[in-house]
């Protein structure tokens, strides 16, 4: 099942001679359960692609389909509901609310969606537990380490019945162990059937994905082939590095 599909998506910021063509005719589909990484130099359109995929912005041209539904045919309300219910966002600066505890931050999207406070908190706690953060539940964001904050942000992004997980440079300033932890969590979410898109310039993060798409000047310039089994690297004849 295709969870996210971009068909000929273009985005132009501004008009006339100063117009910026951030995306030019992007085709991309992400199946349920797949994790796709988008790499590319700064300014190649990665963040624009993600905000359009997440319906936070409209394309200038082309169509975005989430779960088979064309976004441009949806009412404002329906889109808002889709964003709250089906799409989880993780951004570099975490976007946790400083006045809420970790548990309250995670439960917030559910409460905004009209789910009762008690039920929302329970689902939030469950998500935190899964990420090994149960003992941090009642801490405020400024009482957490960078890695913990990012894990709370992921818990918030996957809480409830999300179908699409979108992450923009999710490891930010995290060290490589925390970056691995973040990607491990994204993979786990995808194994439950969520479709994930992670935007990054970091090849170590991207290498967690099933498929890596390379952007250049707003176009898909290239993508990786489906990986062969790991046996190919461990076979003595192809062993790397002595």
């Amino acid at each position: 099942m295709t969870t996210l599909e971009l068909r000929g998506v273009s985005k132009v910021y501004g008009e006339g001679p100063t117009a910026v063509h951030a995306l030019r005719g992007i085709d991309l589909s992400v199946q349920a359960g797949a994790l796709v990484a988008v790499m590319g130099p700064s300014g190649s359109g990665k963040s624009t692609l993600l905000t359009i995929a997440g319906s936070l912005e409209d394309p200038t041209d082309g169509e975005v389909l989430v779960g088979g539904t064309t976004l441009s045919n949806m009412s404002r309300n329906a889109k808002a509901r889709l964003r709250r219910r089906s799409i989880g966002y993780v951004f570099q600066d975490y976007n946790l609310l400083a006045g809420l505890t970790a548990a309250e931050n995670v439960a917030l999207p559910l409460e905004l969606d009209g789910i009762g406070a008690r039920k929302a908190r329970a689902a939030g706690m469950a998500a935190l537990e899964e990420l090994g953060l149960a003992d941090r539940a009642s801490r405020f964001p400024d009482e957490l380490s960078g890695g913990e904050r990012q894990r709370v942000a992921i818990a918030r992004a996957v809480v409830g019945e999300r179908r699409l997980l979108l992450a923009d440079e999710p490891s930010g300033a995290l060290d490589s162990a925390n970056g691995d932890a973040v990607m491990r969590l994204m993979r786990t979410a995808c194994q439950r059937g969520v479709a994930g898109v992670v935007v990054t310039h970091d090849a170590q993060l991207a290498s967690w994905a099933d498929r890596v798409v390379f952007l250049r000047d707003g176009r898909v310039a290239d993508q990786t082939a489906p990986p062969p089994g790991p046996e190919s690297l461990l076979a003595p004849s192809t062993g790397q590095g002595q």
Partner: protein, 195 residues
């Protein structure tokens, strides 16, 4: 890693039989650094000749012969651990040479060349990451060895990214500022230290 020091490391845990050494050697190093198992017995003989290990004099040569490390062997192992490998002279890097050559060939899009290599490297990293992901929690050696490979490949990709950015900026330079012909031989001489 040399077979010699791998064997000293195994023996520093306690005395072992030849066959046991061979098996442990294979189990610990085989997965990531395939070393030549056939060298185990000849290396043990040399270690004994050099006084770094001792064997049961009575026993015959073969799998059942027991070995233990000597004080000299412990010292050799400790000093090997602390001796930095020689990284001072740059290796001749085939990839660097390919990109430098592409830069000078008319009709070649260097960005395409760079991307072809980048994609290959990312695909390799995907395979290594999958191995790390599947590694059991208690197994420390494998993820560490895989990380070493991931960091190495990542550094090559970062060089490619930097080269790409450099090319983009160079494209906007006035022609006079384009790479001068003299820049290549100089680099070749410096990069050619290790043959």
């Amino acid at each position: 890693m040399s077979v010699r020091h791998a064997l000293l490391a195994l023996l520093s845990e306690g005395p072992k039989y030849g066959l046991q050494l061979r098996e442990e050697f294979e189990a610990r190093t085989g997965e990531v650094w395939p070393l030549n198992v056939g060298q185990v017995y000849t290396t043990l003989q040399r270690l004994e000749r050099d006084g770094l290990v001792e064997s049961d004099d009575a026993a015959e040569d073969g799998p059942q012969k027991g070995f233990r490390i000597t004080a000299g062997g412990e010292q050799e192992l400790a000093s090997w651990l602390r001796t930095p490998p020689d990284l001072s002279s740059p290796p001749r890097d085939e990839l660097v040479i390919k990109v430098l050559v592409a830069l000078r060939l008319p009709g070649v899009d260097v960005h395409d060349i760079v991307q072809a290599h980048r994609r290959y490297l990312v695909e390799l990293m995907q395979q290594w990451t999958r191995i790390k992901q599947d590694a059991a929690d208690h197994d420390l050696g494998l993820p560490l060895a895989v990380d070493a490979e991931l960091f190495r490949l990542d550094s090559v990709i970062r060089w490619l990214d930097a080269a790409d950015g450099y090319l983009n900026r160079a494209a906007t330079w006035p022609p006079a500022a384009a790479p001068a012909a003299s820049s290549l031989p100089k680099l070749r001489r410096r990069a050619g230290v290790r043959r």
